[in-house]
Symmetry: C2
Subunit: 414 residues, 2 copies
Amino acid sequence: MIENVPGAAEAARLDAADPLRRFRAQFDLPDGLIYLDGNSLGALPHRSIARASRTVAGEWGRTLIDSWNDHGWIDLPITAGLRIAPLVGALPDEVVVADTVSTNLFKLAGAALALRPGRRAIVTDAANFPTDVYILEGLAALRGGIELRRVAHDQVFAALDSDVAALCLSHVDYRTARIEDMAVLTRAAHAVGALAIWDLSHSVGAIPIDLNAAEADFAVGCGYKYLNGGPGAPAFLFVARRHQEAARNPLSGWLGHAQPFAFDGSYRPASGIRRFVTSSPPVISLSVLDESLQIFAETDMAALRAKSQAQSDMLIRLVEAGCKGLGLALASPRDPDRRGSHVLFDHEEGYAVVQALKRRGMVGDFRVPNGIRLGIAPLYNSYADIAHAAAHLAAVLRRREYDAPELRVRAAVT
Amino acid sequence: MIENVPGAAEAARLDAADPLRRFRAQFDLPDGLIYLDGNSLGALPHRSIARASRTVAGEWGRTLIDSWNDHGWIDLPITAGLRIAPLVGALPDEVVVADTVSTNLFKLAGAALALRPGRRAIVTDAANFPTDVYILEGLAALRGGIELRRVAHDQVFAALDSDVAALCLSHVDYRTARIEDMAVLTRAAHAVGALAIWDLSHSVGAIPIDLNAAEADFAVGCGYKYLNGGPGAPAFLFVARRHQEAARNPLSGWLGHAQPFAFDGSYRPASGIRRFVTSSPPVISLSVLDESLQIFAETDMAALRAKSQAQSDMLIRLVEAGCKGLGLALASPRDPDRRGSHVLFDHEEGYAVVQALKRRGMVGDFRVPNGIRLGIAPLYNSYADIAHAAAHLAAVLRRREYDAPELRVRAAVT
């Protein structure tokens, strides 16, 4: 810890008055750690420890194969989807948990191409989350004859024309935290007859989302960031009800079959969202996600958003006051209504700065080329975390702690 | 339990002399349960309980995002693959754990089409495991212009010609347990210039496999059957070293990128097998698989195979002696060298028979249309299990316990 933390008194008052304060105790966070990386890997809920143990020792160990029915494993993709639906403005039968964000995007972009026969283009922002772009590249190469239009952010509208089958964008930018206008962009896609596919990975669980109000067609999202589902937790996908009977999952596996245990010789898709499940889910990881999601039923996204905005505003204010003249620049939108739940600051020694912060017991992350990314998870981050984070960052810059040569060696994951 | 079990004395002698006997104590099996369904869901190793707890509370909870490096999460797909490689006759750098069998088959069949440009056909056995057929259907529909040749088992050779890109078969048939001659069929595929893709789901961990001796090109396999990786455990895939630099993963996600954290604008495949990883693995489920696999390092596949054959021979002998005239027919090869590690008996009331066995504390499974499938996992099944299983089956048939009407209502998973 450090002394004379600017904003500490204000933070103490805000924490005392915080209506979400009680949630922090539901998480197993190491004492003293300032964890501003819940946007990369959400913290561990205590209840999830018990659920993992129950799934392994109590279900797998006691009832073995019968657990698929007796403990509802077979329905977990739907059950967990039901918990996510209200967080994204979906109907209960529009969300399912399966596979990974990348694989789900492949399924939905493939389905979009089939729903728009004759159209040969997919549009995305060149600065979209890289794996989304890579997946679209792979799909285009496999399909053949598909043009992937990777355009600058301000060229997205201009790239839409009658040859476009789908527009794929992230709701919140993984670097800057800029929020896209989902309704406006979806309308622009629809105006040329294209489908809109949204990646909610950096927004779900942190900011309110209303897919149906925006008339979104498809969406995917991540289970292990703000949803706290655990490392590599399964992802989810959304298919608007109006598309469910026509859309085909190109990864047509047995668990999306109309009768999985009929062992038919040919694939017949299940009705509804279930056809977008491909095969057996990783039950232990999925159970843990299902458990973590239950925390969200105890609050609402408006309350989480209000706290997140207050915290990110405070973080920007304290950092800018404490780091004046030290080479730091805000790279996120200043308008809190255009900013998600993380804040990016650029600094030319960004990588080493993040390492120096870690030595002080503060975890953020680095994003190329020089971004210091600080994520705010309003379920468990306190205002005290915010004030201390700003003070640590100022101290690292003022004392040039990032100059230590051992901080410049990059590990595999940063 | 039942009295006067035929073969009980023989079983006791064989159990006393069993060189693998000590392994049963490594599994958490309910007292008195006769579990012959390890080919659907392997039993829980004690060590995996501890590993799940360590991964959740000890790693995720204590070191959060840093666990990707500090606890080797990022390398788990490779680490677990290294443990599987010797079980399937692969080189250490030819196997990786990722996703599901269905998704991995999609990747490899897609890669095969790209490696054989101009060829328009994929050949499979119409009686192949259904999800394999469904996945090939989905791939063919997405690609367009692909002919999926689903042929009778005895027509596989005739279906191979110069238009075939890939031959996809299961090593062991999920119903009959018939073992395919991997070397002969691979050679036949190569003779017409096609690639051979093998599904090892029903053989890996139960019978010796030598992919490289057979010159197999690609393979996939299941983590939750004989490998005891837990419900829905991640699957694995094999790519022969000679194909690794040319083969492209159509599910080209960030974790298969040459530099995942460079966040490049375009996909560049990692060198070697790593390019067949798509995205973040479900770490909790994957850790449990990684732990369960370590048991195999304490024995060898020849010893496991010898016990499995002795047990399946004994099972057939005792069942046929005890069930004479009761409508049961062996549907698996009688020759133990052509039979995997499960045995299928047909009975017209097969479904209700399996339910009646369950009431007696014996778990097998039912496979349409009328198969009673009994799986032998030599790591934990005893000869006493085999003798008791045969006695229970005989009792159910002799007493017509399958006539109980409540046994005829089918649950979602059987």
